[in-house]
C-alpha cells in the first residue's frame, strides 16, 4: 500500500481494491460509505472547534484584547470545554412550539452543509464525489440550509425568532443570485462545472490572476454575497443580538443550539473552500512561469496544506469583515444586492464572456 502525500489516488484505490477483494461488492460499498462518512464527521467536528477558537482570537486581536487564555496554552482547549458544556446543558422544551418542526430545523441546517462538503476537492485524490456538475451541486444543496432557518424561526412561536427568520429568508433568497452569477463567471472562464477540472485548469495560473479584471470583480462580489449567505456580520441581521436577542435560534438550547452554531462555521468553511477552488487555484501550488527553482520549492508543500492554507486566509478575510464593518439595515442590504451587485454582476458576466471569446486571458 503506497502512501504518497502528493497524490492519494493510488492509496485510495488500494483500499478500494482491498475491500472489494475481501467482501461482497454490496458490503464493500457500505463499508466505503461508512469510512467516508466517519472521516467527514471527524473533519467537521475538528474544523468547527478550530474555527470557533480562531474567530474568538481574531475578534480579540482586532478589538485589542487577549481573547480566550485560561484553558490550556493560549486557551486552545477553550472551545473543547465550551463544547462539553453545551453537550451537558439541559435541552429546554418549548411547550407552545411546533415540536416536530422545532426539532427538525437544526438537522436540516446541518445536513445541508454536510452534503455540500462532500463535493469539495481537498487535494489530489482527496475528493469524495466528483460530479460533472460539481459547482452547481454545491450551490443546490447549500441553498437548502435557509429552509432550516425559516422553520426554526416560525416553529419557535416567538416574535423575535419570526422576524429573524424572515430577514434571513429575504437576505438569502436575494444574495443567492449574486453568488450563483459570480460562480457562473468563473465557469465561463474554466469551461467546465466539474470541480476537478476547474482546479486542473488553474495548473499554470490561478483564475484570479489569469482572468484579469472580470475574475477579480467576480471574487469581490462572491465574497460580499457569500458573507451575506452565511448570515455573518456585517449581514447578520437574522440574529442581530442588539435588536432580536438571538434571532431565529433564540429558543434553542444545549446541543440543538450547538448544531446551528457549528453549521454557521461550517458554512463559512464551505464558502471559503469554494472561493479557494474557483479563484485561488484549489490545491494547486503557486507557480510562476519561468521560475523553475521557485516552482520546485512550491511543489514540496503537499496539496492538502496548500488547500487549507488558502482556505484559512479567505476565512480570516471574512472574520476581518465581521469585526470591522457595522451591521447594515435591511433596506440597505436589499438595495446593495438589487441595485448594485446584480447589475454589476450581469455586466461582469458579459465582460468575462468577451474576454474568453477574444482570448485575452492568459
Amino acid at each position: 500500500m503506497a502512501f504518497n502525500i502528493y497524490d492519494l489516488t493510488s492509496f485510495n484505490q488500494s483500499i478500494d481494491k482491498f475491500l472489494y477483494d475481501n467482501l461482497p461488492s454490496f458490503w464493500a460499498m457500505i463499508v466505503e460509505m461508512t469510512i467516508i462518512g466517519v472521516a467527514f464527521l471527524l473533519f467537521y467536528a475538528v474544523i468547527g472547534l478550530f474555527l470557533v477558537y480562531a474567530e474568538r482570537k481574531v475578534c480579540a486581536f482586532i478589538q485589542n484584547r487577549v481573547g480566550p487564555n485560561r484553558v490550556g496554552p493560549y486557551g486552545i482547549f477553550q472551545t473543547i470545554a465550551d463544547f462539553i458544556k453545551l453537550l451537558m446543558k439541559e435541552i429546554i422544551p418549548i411547550r407552545k412550539a411546533d415540536q416536530f418542526l422545532f426539532n427538525l430545523a437544526p438537522f436540516i441546517v446541518i445536513i445541508a452543509s454536510f452534503m455540500a462538503i462532500a463535493a469539495i476537492p481537498f487535494g489530489l485524490g482527496l475528493h469524495a464525489i466528483d460530479l460533472n456538475i460539481g459547482i452547481f451541486y454545491v450551490m443546490a444543496v447549500s441553498s437548502l440550509g435557509v429552509i432550516g432557518v425559516l422553520l426554526a424561526g416560525w416553529s419557535s412561536n416567538n416574535k423575535y425568532s419570526l422576524i429573524g427568520a424572515m430577514r434571513s429568508g429575504a437576505q438569502i433568497v436575494s444574495y443567492e443570485l449574486s453568488v450563483g452569477l459570480s460562480m457562473v463567471t468563473i465557469v465561463v472562464l474554466a469551461g467546465s462545472m466539474q470541480l476537478s477540472e476547474i482546479v486542473e485548469a488553474q495548473r499554470n495560473g490561478w483564475f484570479i490572476f489569469t482572468g484579469h479584471v472580470p475574475a477579480f470583480i467576480a471574487f469581490i462580489i462572491f465574497m460580499i454575497a457569500s458573507t451575506a449567505e452565511t448570515n455573518r456580520g456585517p449581514f447578520d441581521l437574522a440574529e442581530a443580538e442588539s435588536e432580536l436577542t438571538a434571532g431565529f435560534h433564540t429558543e434553542y438550547s444545549g446541543i440543538k443550539f450547538a448544531f446551528f452554531f457549528l453549521a454557521e462555521y461550517m458554512n463559512m468553511f464551505i464558502v471559503a473552500s469554494i472561493a479557494t477552488t474557483l479563484f485561488w487555484g484549489g490545491w494547486m501550488p503557486l507557480h510562476i512561469g519561468g521560475w523553475e527553482g521557485f516552482n520546485h520549492v512550491m511543489d514540496i508543500i503537499p496539496p492538502f496544506f496548500w488547500y487549507m492554507g488558502k482556505t484559512l486566509v479567505v476565512i480570516f478575510l471574512m472574520m476581518w469583515f465581521k469585526w470591522t464593518f457595522p451591521r447594515l439595515r435591511i433596506d440597505q442590504l436589499l438595495k446593495l444586492e438589487w441595485k448594485y451587485l446584480l447589475p454589476v454582476n450581469l455586466f461582469n458576466l458579459i465582460l468575462m464572456a468577451l474576454v474568453v471569446l477574444m482570448k485575452w486571458h492568459f
Binding site: 454490496f26 407552545k96 452547481f136 443546490a140 441553498s143 437548502l144 425559516l150 416560525w154 419570526l162 429575504a170
Partner: protein, 170 residues
C-alpha cells in the same frame, strides 16, 4: 437484492409516504415541509439514475426556490396556532375515489405498456451538450422554446412589478 434496488425502494417509499402526509397534514407549514421531503427524494432518484444535472435543478428550483417561497409566504400570513379544519366526509370520499381512479389509470397504463429496452449506449449528459442544445435551432435545438419561456418570464416579472408598485394618489 442489489444496492440500487434497496435505494429505489427507500426513495419511492419516502415519496409515497411524504406525499400522503403533505395532503393529510392539518398544519400548513408541516405540509410544506413534507412537500420538501417529497422533492428531495425525487432528486435522490435522479441522482441514483446518474442524471446529476436534473437532480441539481430539482434541488435548486423546487427545494431551494419554490418551497422557500411557499414557506416564506406562510411565515408572512399564518400563525402557529392555526389548524385547517378537517374536511367534510363527503369531500374525503370524493377525494379518495378520484385518487384511486387516477392511480388505477396510471398503474394500468404502466403495466400494459411494453417497454422496449434500448440498445443505444448511454449518452454522457454534460453541461456543454445541454447548453449547446438550448441555444441551437437545428435538429435537436431548443432555441424557440427557450426564447418563448424567457419572454413569458419577462412578462411575469413586469406584471409583478406593476402589481406591487404603489400608485401616488396626489
Amino acid at each position: 437484492m442489489t444496492g440500487n434496488q434497496i435505494m429505489f425502494i427507500v426513495f419511492s417509499a419516502m415519496i409515497v409516504i411524504f406525499s400522503i402526509l403533505t395532503v393529510t397534514s392539518r398544519r400548513i407549514l408541516r405540509a410544506a415541509t413534507f412537500l420538501l421531503f417529497v422533492l428531495i427524494s425525487t432528486s435522490g432518484l435522479y441522482f441514483m439514475l446518474n442524471f446529476q444535472f436534473l437532480a441539481a435543478v430539482q434541488l435548486t428550483l423546487y427545494a431551494g426556490g419554490i418551497v422557500v417561497l411557499i414557506i416564506f409566504s406562510i411565515l408572512l400570513t399564518s400563525h402557529i396556532d392555526e389548524k385547517f379544519e378537517s374536511a367534510a366526509l363527503l369531500k374525503k370520499v370524493y377525494g379518495a375515489i378520484a385518487s384511486i381512479l387516477g392511480a388505477v389509470l396510471v398503474i394500468n397504463t404502466l403495466i400494459n405498456y411494453t417497454f422496449v429496452p434500448s440498445t443505444e449506449a448511454a449518452k454522457d449528459i454534460n453541461m456543454n451538450l445541454i447548453g449547446n442544445s438550448l441555444i441551437s435551432w437545428g435538429e435537436q435545438g431548443y432555441a424557440l422554446p427557450f426564447e418563448l419561456i424567457s419572454i413569458l418570464l419577462l412578462a411575469a416579472m413586469i406584471a409583478a412589478i406593476v402589481v406591487a408598485k404603489k400608485i401616488k394618489t396626489n
